[in-house]
């Protein structure tokens, strides 16, 4: 059972454009929603994260929009640059006792063209 659904699977955006990646979740117990950026051959790196009591968070060109009632959240990359070309993963954190874990989406491969 996939608890975090991510779309699209791949995305091509022109330089300067807006990249939008969407995620939807099912488990209402998730309490933290990070986005990770992964370059080929490297591990994922935390990009930006949001708590469910906040509807939007912006850091530089990266913005997370969060809709708690719809159980959806999205990443917007403004003024997309070729250096943003990477795979992006959304994730959601759940808590069981003292243990926490991240459930990841299946990833979006972003290509920013010149």
């Amino acid at each position: 059972q996939q608890q975090v659904k991510q779309s699209p699977q791949s995305l091509i955006v022109q330089k300067g454009g807006i990249s939008i990646i969407n995620c939807a979740y099912e488990n209402t117990a998730f309490d933290y929603f990070p986005w990770y950026q992964q370059f080929p051959g490297k591990g994922p790196a935390l990009l930006i994260a949001i708590r469910p009591d906040v509807s939007e968070k912006k850091e530089g060109r990266f913005t997370i929009s969060f809709n708690k009632s719809a159980k959806q959240f999205s990443l917007h990359i403004m003024d997309s640059q070729p250096g943003d070309s990477a795979t992006y993963f959304c994730a959601a954190k759940s808590q069981t006792g003292t243990a926490s874990k991240l459930t990841f989406g299946t990833g979006t491969r972003l290509q920013v063209t010149l």
């Binding site: 309490d31 051959g41 591990g43 243990a99």
Partner: protein
Amino acid sequence: GAGVSQSPSNKVTEKGKDVELRCDPISGHTALYWYRQSLGQGLEFLIYFQGNSAPDKSGLPSDRFSAERTGGSVSTLTIQRTQQEDSAVYLCASSLAGGSLGNQPQHFGDGTRLSIL
């Protein structure tokens, strides 16, 4: 080192052999996580350590998989009698604390790419 270190970076082995993958977390990080990333897939949670104990082993796919952590630092993921479906990138992450002590970011290593022939 400054980041999470994993070794080896690549491992090729024959079906049926045992493999050990190592993770050196960031110094001072008490929480350690193992994930598996298959081609075109997201990251699949395997196991979580808080200190030397593993409160959540729910993601280990079979009893051929085991992990340990000693001294609250280095962790080893062992796969016995490897199968071709075990081929994947195995990623380790660490954070200051897991559990209810706040949303500490997980810092990932670059993974071990495991290929089973």
